[in-house]
């Protein structure tokens, strides 16, 4: 590897690749060490733990076993039940629908923000991010109140006949989606806006110039350019939403059990089965990795 010690010019300085890398190591080690110790290794630890077993009194029995995997797909000492799979399916469904909703609402928002002058646009973007400073729990509680039995929205829905006389919007599926979207929207809008900012409107005009109808103009002119941003937005919304359970817990009532609830029960609830919790975690790990690969394959470079 003679090229490592060859004197080259980096940043206008005569030095070797090796020396640059050594200093680079100095700069990156603190951060990377932190990530390694508190993120990468723990994740590996989790994967290992997933194949362990629950010991007595909440300890861990480190003998290799596929029990948790079987449990995941429904096989337990009582035979097969679809419960766990249902939970996973429900989590996926909610995540996908939330992501779609965030996309549908987020795209117009991104364009609307982008339609203003740079200063105003930055202000609007910051306004979008500010609600995230108020804790998730508080905002969700606000929805609990707002969608309660005595409030206008419920009354409104009753008159429209969407729900029955005795029901209220909260707790319920509708409330859950409102809560989720309200929570994830800022993270969906950010990458979309970045894409809008970088749009080359010349391409759109070229499409119009070539007699394309509005829909085709939108598709070829705008959507094609925004693909990286859209993929980033989807990835940034879908995966975190998979693990969300607080919103659904508060707004959906007892029957809304998602992966997150299940995992929480393993670690803090009565089940106290850390290895099984870890196995459930692997489902989430796989979805993270898949989404990252999809993101890179569709040409995504950065989320910000």
């Amino acid at each position: 590897m003679a090229s490592k010690t060859k004197i080259e010019v980096f940043e206008g300085k005569l030095t070797t690749r090796k020396r640059m890398r050594r200093f680079g190591l100095l700069l990156t080690t603190p951060g990377m060490l932190w990530l390694l110790v508190f993120l990468l290794l723990p994740t590996l630890f989790l994967i290992v733990m997933a194949f362990a077993q629950r010991g007595s009194y909440g300890t861990i029995d480190w003998s290799f076993s596929l029990d948790n995997l079987k449990k995941l797909v429904g096989f337990s000492s009582f035979g097969w039940s679809a419960d766990n799979l249902l939970i996973i399916w429900r989590s996926l469904k909610i995540a996908v629908i939330t992501t779609l909703l965030c996309l549908i609402i987020g795209l117009p928002m991104a364009f609307w923000i982008g339609a203003h002058k740079k200063n105003t646009a930055t202000l609007l973007l910051a306004l979008v991010m500010v609600p995230s400073c108020t804790n998730l729990v508080i905002r969700t509680y606000a929805w609990m109140l707002l969608l309660g039995a005595q409030m206008p929205p419920t009354w409104f829905a009753r008159t429209l006949g969407i729900i029955g006389e005795a029901e209220s919007l909260y707790p319920g599926t509708f409330a859950v989606y409102i809560g989720m979207v309200s929570c994830m929207l800022p993270f969906a809008v950010l990458p979309l806006y970045t894409s809008v900012e970088r749009l080359d409107w010349g391409i759109v005009e070229a499409a119009r110039d070539l007699y394309a109808k509005p829909i085709r103009t939108f598709y070829h002119g705008i959507l094609s350019q925004m693909m990286p941003g859209i993929v980033a937005s989807v990835v940034l919304t879908l995966v975190p939403t998979l693990g969300m359970y607080v919103v659904s817990d508060l707004l959906g009532g007892a029957k809304f059990i998602l992966i997150g609830n299940l995992i929480q029960q393993q670690f803090f609830g009565t089940a106290l089965d850390w290895p099984f919790g870890a196995m459930l975690g692997i489902v989430l790990i796989i979805s993270s990795v898949i989404s990252l690969i999809v993101f890179k394959k569709t040409g995504g470079k950065s989320f910000v």
């Binding site: 980096f10 940043e11 640059m20 890398r21 680079g24 700069l27 951060g31 990377m32 990530l35 993120l39 290794l41 723990p42 994740t43 609402i105 117009p108 364009f111 609307w112 923000i113 982008g114 339609a115 200063n119 202000l123 910051a126 979008v128 500010v130 609600p131 108020t134 804790n135 998730l136 729990v137 508080i138 905002r139 509680y141 606000a142 109140l145 707002l146 309660g148 005595q150 409102i178 979207v181 929207l185 800022p186 809008v189 990835v235 940034l236 995966v239 693990g243 359970y245 607080v246 508060l250 997150g260 995992i263 929480q264 670690f267 989430l284 993270s288 990795v289 990252l292 989320f303 910000v304």
Partner: protein
């Protein structure tokens, strides 16, 4: 550059903003509602704000939350900025570059709960060696730094790319040393990105619930945990008052920065005008 957005798009955008701000409005209104249970309006009152000042539990929780956010932001911004600079300027090999890439991007897409159980597990492991890792403020800070670093790195890295290679070459061409070039040319331009990254980290810390829930201990109650706990008992409007204060402060700080930027621009424009009058004379 003001483009015309079709009406339906604008309406959806407004709906989106409403979705974001209606809960906050609700919280604001409830903070002045004399009716404790919030289902109906009981009259305007400042009581809850006043009672806040006597509520030591809330105060401790708030202090913990702020300390957590500030300390974790400081650490993550420092580590993240150094990491970003190191990744950007060093000629790494292709494999190493990809490794960095993955390491930075993965935390951003990881669900909170996954990070939470990973951290809990590893803390349990460390606990068997030393009691430093008992659930408490330290574990909270460590956890928060861990999920904040990547965001800081992404923001700073993005800015470093847009600053470009010419800047530092120009500085060297003009006899600056490497350190001089970095401190006199690059870092001033980087400062807004570093601040943006820090703000992002700060926001993420304040917003976090799940990771804090898993990783905290009895002594280190933070606000979101306190609120979650009190949800089961029925939320006191004091919490609404507190939340209103928090987001009002944030909103105010943000508007102030934005207006400061606009005011500076107006000053610049005013400066240019007198000269043209003189020239005409």
């Amino acid at each position: 550059m003001s483009r015309r957005i079709p009406l339906y798009a604008r309406l959806i955008a407004y709906i989106g903003m409403a979705l974001l701000y209606v809960p906050l409005l609700m919280v604001l209104i409830q903070s002045f509602n004399a009716n404790k249970h919030g289902q109906t309006w009981g009259g305007f009152t400042f009581d809850w704000y006043v009672k806040l000042f006597d509520n030591t539990l809330v105060q401790t929780a708030t202090v913990n939350t702020v300390i957590l956010a500030v300390v974790s932001t400081l650490i993550s911004t420092l580590l993240g900025t150094l990491l970003a600079i190191g990744i950007h300027r060093t000629p790494w090999g292709k494999k190493t570059q990809e490794f960095f890439d993955m390491s930075i991007n993965i935390p951003v897409v990881t669900p909170d709960i996954l990070m939470a159980i990973a951290l809990v597990s590893v803390f349990a492991l460390f606990r068997s060696l030393t009691s430093v890792f008992d659930p408490g403020m330290l574990t909270l800070i460590i956890a928060h730094v861990t999920f904040e670093i990547s965001f800081v790195v992404l923001v700073v890295l993005s800015r470093l790319s847009s600053i470009g290679r010419d800047q530092i070459e120009a500085a060297r061409d003009l006899y600056a040393s490497t350190a001089g070039a970095w401190f006199r040319v690059i870092i001033p331009q980087l400062s807004t990105a570093i601040v943006a990254g820090a703000l992002l980290a700060f926001t993420l810390s304040l917003d976090d619930f799940i990771i804090s829930f898993f990783v905290s201990g009895p002594q280190s109650q933070t606000l979101p945990l306190f609120i979650y706990g009190s949800l089961k008992r029925g939320v006191s409007p004091q919490i609404h008052a507190l939340s209103t204060i928090i987001f009002s402060l944030t909103l105010f700080a943000m508007l102030a920065t934005a207006l400061k930027g606009q005011w500076k621009e107006k000053k610049l424009k005013l400066k240019k005008q007198p000269r043209s009058i003189h020239e005409k004379a």
